[in-house]
Symmetry: C2
Subunit: 297 residues, 2 copies
């Protein structure tokens, strides 16, 4: 028997073990990475901000001129059903829409029937327990993130080759992960996360060229309760290097401290106080009915 | 019975009808578009410049730090076998390598076993017979092609959302296809093709930010036999608009005339003499044993 706790997918109107879920090679979601997706998560049996993920997913599909034969309510129901079938309390729930198959011989994306798929798998962490406690060693790559003039970063997309190559560069340098820059050398985002830096009373997160992550948004909400000057602005590499605190935010881990940038310590080299406070507050929201909804297993 | 003339794929060590070829949803070739590919073609039962496509594919894999358990000779043999099994004389033969499946819970691309796949399908044209005879109406989009600082365009890749969005824009304007620009507004490339413009005795094709296509390379070789000043340089939109001849080159069609740019005629509005000459010469090379090799069906 297949272990369904390793994940279940919904594709072509069927629920299947995630290891058996496959998409046609000819789907332009693969051959042109012509697709959008979103990833919500559950924590202790509750979906976190699921409506925000659904909002973004539908906005992304509309921008890409895609539509699927499932209503928002049906997609939400599929997400719940996936988690219920896996029995997972802490899960990563991805929903995706691909352009689909072209008509034979055609190169016209207007003629494709878009494909919806979804899957739930065990929660995935960007950084393991130890790294989240001691803090990450972050490389600032000179690799430029695909700019918004090419691909709208608000359309959550699978164009990750820039991130993958930067990640290899980070590993080569002994770093744990990597943040990419824009053409002017300002920090933008890393593979699956946003970045924040605190210098004194000022907290900056990049304003442009980034996915406005739901975790990022949650942290901005939490920061607005603090007596801090919080800005969405340019974040030059020099500013990040001289910051007292740097942290990254992601669905895949919440708020994670960065304690080294290219082997130089950030602040005193220990995870920052604000970082820890935000992380605690972030995870507390997961039990708050204003932010989360229980799954009826 | 499945009609194998519609295409056959080779995936996970098996030959299957292309319509049945699927890749796992969790393969990072899909979820991160972490993949490279190449497309050779056969014409009248002969592979065209297959070694050049194999060269590029292996260079791309090396740049992405990928490797597959098939030698170059085995990949070439698979390409021939695919075409033989379809019986197609004029075919499009795609080879691809994906990052593969991550270890459960891991986000480290170094731990993936890369996946090789290939398929042969009937030859696909960018433009149909009529369009190739009368010439295409090309839109110059303001959409910027993903720049080389983000993704090396010499690594042939599936990051096409910029091209897809530009293509929708072209269709909205009644154009047949589209060329994207760089940050300075110079023409770069379009979905699956390179572009050339002739003004008087000078022929320019963009030098930077483009895939150096095998067809582009072939046309540069053919142009070197002409008494023309041929340059790989910047190609500003104004220069393209005022050119006497504009054409696009692609494996998916050879040399195709552009007779309108955003509804304004190029030159006298008819396909150019040089364009036609190059197209004839290009297709003639397909019977030349120096450029092509016969398939023993």
């Amino acid at each position: 028997m297949t272990d369904l706790s390793q994940g279940i997918a919904f594709i072509d109107d069927e629920y299947v073990p995630v290891a058996e879920a496959r998409i046609p090679v000819l789907d332009w979601g693969f051959l042109h990475s012509d697709a959008t997706y979103d990833v919500a998560h559950t924590w202790h049996g509750r979906f976190f901000r699921i409506e925000d993920y659904l909002d973004r997913f539908h906005t992304s599909m509309a921008k890409l001129r895609m539509s699927v034969p499932y209503s928002r309510e049906q997609i939400r129901a599929i997400m719940f059903e996936l988690v219920k079938r896996t029995g997972l309390r802490d899960a990563y729930v991805e929903i995706a829409c691909t352009r689909g198959l072209p008509a034979p011989g055609s190169r016209d994306p207007r003629n494709c029937q878009n494909r919806f798929l979804a899957f739930a798998i065990p929660f995935v962490w960007i950084a393991d327990d130890k790294l989240r406690q001691q803090g990450l060693n972050l490389l600032i790559s000179e690799q430029q993130r695909i700019p918004p003039e090419s691909v709208d970063p608000q359309i959550k997309n699978y164009h990750w080759l820039d991130m993958v190559m930067a990640l290899f560069e980070a590993y080569d340098h002994g770093a744990d992960t990597v943040v990419l820059v824009d053409a002017a050398g300002n920090l933008v985002e890393g593979p699956g996360f946003n970045v924040f830096a605190r210098s004194g009373n000022t907290v900056i997160t990049p304003a442009r060229g980034v996915l406005e992550g739901v975790t990022r948004e949650t942290i901005l909400e939490l920061l607005s309760r603090e007596k801090l000057d919080v800005r969405q602005d340019l974040l030059p590499a020099t500013l990040a290097r001289s910051a007292q605190e740097v942290f990254i935010t992601s669905t895949a881990g919440g708020v994670m401290p960065v304690t080294r940038i290219a082997d130089e310590t950030v602040g005193d080299g220990r995870p920052g106080v604000l970082t820890a406070k935000l992380n605690d507050a972030y995870w507390s929201l997961h039990a708050d009915p204003k932010y989360s909804v229980a799954i009826d297993y």
